[in-house]
């Protein structure tokens, strides 16, 4: 049924249709609307006998999820940013134990400086955690991929993180085709845990493993993620068949069949990129975009196949590894190691900075002419950075760099008078 609905609200409705038995969550912007609405649905008795736990921290949230999942209960949580980092020890533990928890990540930057707006630093901080990480471009996909996430997690007994851009998606009202609960029921089988704590069959879970078997246990997790490369596509197709729309899969391509220049990105920015590419196509430029839907497992071979005929690749991402540069860019480069394609790494949209069509157009025009540096920070005011470096070199106590830069840029009106 079509509804004009907020992204968070829609995700909450979709998760509730999946009938989790336990939800444990701690509030953090921009995840709050999701868990508020799930809490409301649970309290109203609309999610069966589901228990909603108001935990004392994200670390407790993920830990309670571990306890719940190991009892064989379908388990869900949501977080963002600092919350993900605060729960990180338990995030690794959940995947190490092979517990099929589903978590929404309302993507947000990581401080300091504290910043509540969207980028992908949080998700990429967890990229090595052993969780499956799925990114969505739209709120329709957010709804659909959550339903697929439970099926995927429980099929391979690994946790799944659904990454949706904070504010850009979580707080956006869009027209969404909300699934029917009976459809969800027929798509998602009951949870049959691969392991659980059961007095009738006592087992010890989570004991120490030494060097003699640790490599094999960890490799198994890697193997299961590689298996998921097929399962993600299969589940996506199964969903499309039943629900009549395609919204899953490892990657999605737009105008990239014959494109000389292929842009690669993840999340909602793909929408903006598509609109720029549409204009450029109209003008006769050969350009397309690939949306990375599954960040982990990384669809290396599928991507290589899509990119093999391109002449250049521009990887656009909302995060970077300080001291290296693009993170997704490195993964893409690895996918392309058999091809000698120029690859440009572009970092933008950090801490919620707007990614405008004008900036992207300028960027792609440069890219088409191979005029981009290997690593480029979109709309970076390098002069402001240089002025701060000069202040720090002056030998005086230059003070908090973040404040200096904000004042320098003149965003704070008080700065102008001083």
């Amino acid at each position: 049924m079509l509804q004009q609905i907020e992204g968070s609200y829609a995700v909450a409705e979709a998760v509730a249709m999946c009938m989790p038995e336990v939800v444990a969550a701690y509030p953090i912007t921009p995840q709050t609307h999701i868990v508020e609405h799930i809490g409301e649905l649970v309290k109203a008795g609309k999610v069966g006998s589901c228990e909603y736990i108001n935990v004392d921290s994200e670390f407790s949230a993920m830990s309670a999820c571990i306890g719940s999942s190991v009892m064989g209960a379908r388990t869900y949580t949501a977080t963002a940013s600092q919350g993900l980092l605060f729960m990180m020890e338990a995030v690794y533990n959940a995947s190490g134990l092979g517990l099929p928890i589903v978590m929404t990540l309302g993507n947000r930057s990581i401080g300091a400086p504290i910043n509540i707006w969207n980028d992908h630093t949080d998700a990429l901080a967890a990229r090595d955690s052993g969780w499956i990480q799925l990114f969505v471009e739209t709120n329709q996909q957010a709804v659909d991929v959550h339903i697929q996430a439970f099926k995927l997690a429980e099929a391979i007994s690994l946790p799944v993180m659904v990454c949706m851009d904070g504010f850009v998606l979580t707080h956006a009202y869009e027209r969404i085709d909300m699934p029917d609960k009976s459809q969800v029921e027929s798509f998602l089988p009951p949870f049959v845990p691969k392991q659980k704590l059961d007095p009738d069959q006592p087992v010890s879970i989570g004991a120490m493993v030494g060097p003699e078997a640790f490599t094999e246990v960890r490799y198994l997790a890697h193997h299961k993620q590689l298996e998921a490369l097929e399962i993600i596509d299969d589940i996506g197709e199964e969903f499309a068949e039943l629900f009549g729309r395609s919204s899953g899969g490892l990657v999605s391509c737009f105008d990239c069949g014959d494109a000389d220049t292929i842009v690669i990105a993840a999340g909602s920015v793909v929408g903006t990129i598509k609109s720029v590419i549409k204009d450029m196509r109209d003008e006769g430029h050969s350009i397309g975009v690939v949306s990375i839907r599954s960040m982990r497992p990384f669809p290396r071979f599928k991507l290589a196949k899509v990119l093999q005929k391109a002449k250049r690749v521009i990887v656009f991402e909302k995060a970077f590894s300080v001291g290296v540069g693009g993170v997704l860019a490195l993964d893409v480069q690895w996918a392309l190691h058999n091809y000698s394609l120029p690859l440009y790494s572009v970092i933008g949209g950090l801490g919620g900075r707007s990614i405008t069509r004008a900036s992207l157009r300028k960027l792609f025009d440069k890219g088409l002419r191979d005029q981009l540096p290997q690593t480029h920070f979109l709309d970076l005011d390098i002069d402001a950075v240089n002025r701060e470096l000069a202040r720090e070199r002056s030998g005086d106590r230059s003070g908090p760099a973040a404040e200096n830069i904000v004042r320098d840029l003149g965003v704070v009106s008080a700065a102008k008078t001083s």
Binding site: S57, S68, M71, P202
Partner: protein, 341 residues
């Protein structure tokens, strides 16, 4: 009660390599066998679950192994074997495992060091959602896992009154990592990070936390302290806790010969003296109100307890008398505060 859960049938079999042992034999609790059957400890009965079976790697004279075995078996008996347990990282977790060995005869999970109360919260929530509240949840940790790194999760579990029995085996330092100070290390005690040097040798006074009182401040249904020298009392408290719902907390002082520098053969004696000096009050509280305390007819001087432990050796050196006085004052304050006399 099924044999599978209790697992005792093997001990009764004539050709079993391991015969049922009554651990009380040869100790001051030998009278156990002379007691009325109802008053005997779980360990003395055929109903003993043997939840932590023999063959584990605890040190000689480990108080935690003893305390945990009694506590868990008492809990098993109280719920007809329908118990699931979670365990913080620490000695108990380490010496009862690693894979492929496990001493645990009940469903057991180790997740992390600091999240055990929250894992237990999730377990209890799952059972409630599934309508399986006949299965009970036990959480366990040491003093570091409980009072320090797991404290936030513990307070949250208490505050929400989640249906969990949490047992803290307090050996007053991080023994598993090599005897470093925790917030439950007593004043003057030597640890690897509070060496007996300088003007305040050992752990400084005026620090640390008494977790049972903090638990009481949460007004949870039941809080108790116990000691491994008084196993009937320990079992009775576990049994009482299991008869209730909601968040329940039991803290057992467990002698650590390695960390305390006491003779393994003195484990029970040291535990008894901790109680009889007033340094470890045995109390019970319900919903934040003290409901009982173990009375001391003639409190012993703290020296009797301290002199058995090398971690306190320096308090007997000239110039350190003030440390001894401070420790006696702590015992006296406990006796006043908890009405032990």
């Amino acid at each position: 009660m099924t044999d599978k859960v209790k697992g005792f049938s093997v001990y009764d079999s004539e050709d079993s390599p391991q015969r049922l042992k009554f651990y009380q034999t040869g100790t001051l609790t030998v009278g156990n066998r002379l007691l009325d059957a109802k008053l005997r400890t779980v360990q003395a009965t055929k109903e003993r679950a043997n939840a932590i079976t023999s063959g584990h790697r605890a040190c000689q004279g480990c108080g935690e192994a003893l305390g945990a075995r009694y506590a868990v078996d008492a809990a098993m008996l109280a719920c007809d074997g329908k118990l699931v347990a979670t365990n913080a990282t620490g000695c108990l977790e380490v010496f009862t495992t690693p894979y492929p060995e496990t001493a645990w005869q009940l469903p057991w999970i180790h997740s992390l060091f600091g999240n055990t109360p929250a894992v237990a919260t999730g377990m209890a929530a799952a059972l409630k959602a599934k309508g399986q509240t006949d299965i009970r949840v036990l959480a366990q940790g040491g003093d570091g896992g409980t009072a320090d790194i797991g404290f936030g999760c513990l307070s949250g579990m208490f505050e929400r009154n989640d249906d969990v029995l949490y047992i803290c085996y307090n050996n007053q330092a991080y023994m598993n990592t090599g005897v470093q100070r925790s917030s439950q290390t007593p004043g003057a005690a030597r640890t690897a990070t509070t060496m007996p040097v300088g003007p305040e040798p050992g752990n400084v006074f005026g620090t640390g936390k008494y977790l049972p009182a903090i638990a009481m401040a949460h007004e949870i249904p039941y809080v108790a302290t116990a000691s491994i020298h008084h196993l009937h009392d320990l079992e009775a408290k576990v049994h009482k806790a299991m008869s209730m719902r909601g968040a329940r907390y039991i803290e057992i002082l467990v002698t650590c010969p390695l960390g305390w520098g006491s003779a393994p053969a003195d484990t029970i004696k040291v535990a008894r003296l901790a109680v009889e000096t007033g340094l470890w009050p045995l109390i019970e509280a319900e919903h934040g109100e003290l409901t009982g305390s173990h009375q001391l007819e003639r409190p012993r001087p703290v020296e009797d307890y301290l002199k058995l432990q090398r971690r306190f050796a320096h308090v007997f050196k000239p110039g350190n008398e003030w440390e001894l006085d401070n420790l006696q004052a702590l015992a006296d304050r406990n006796i006043r505060r908890y009405g032990l006399k």
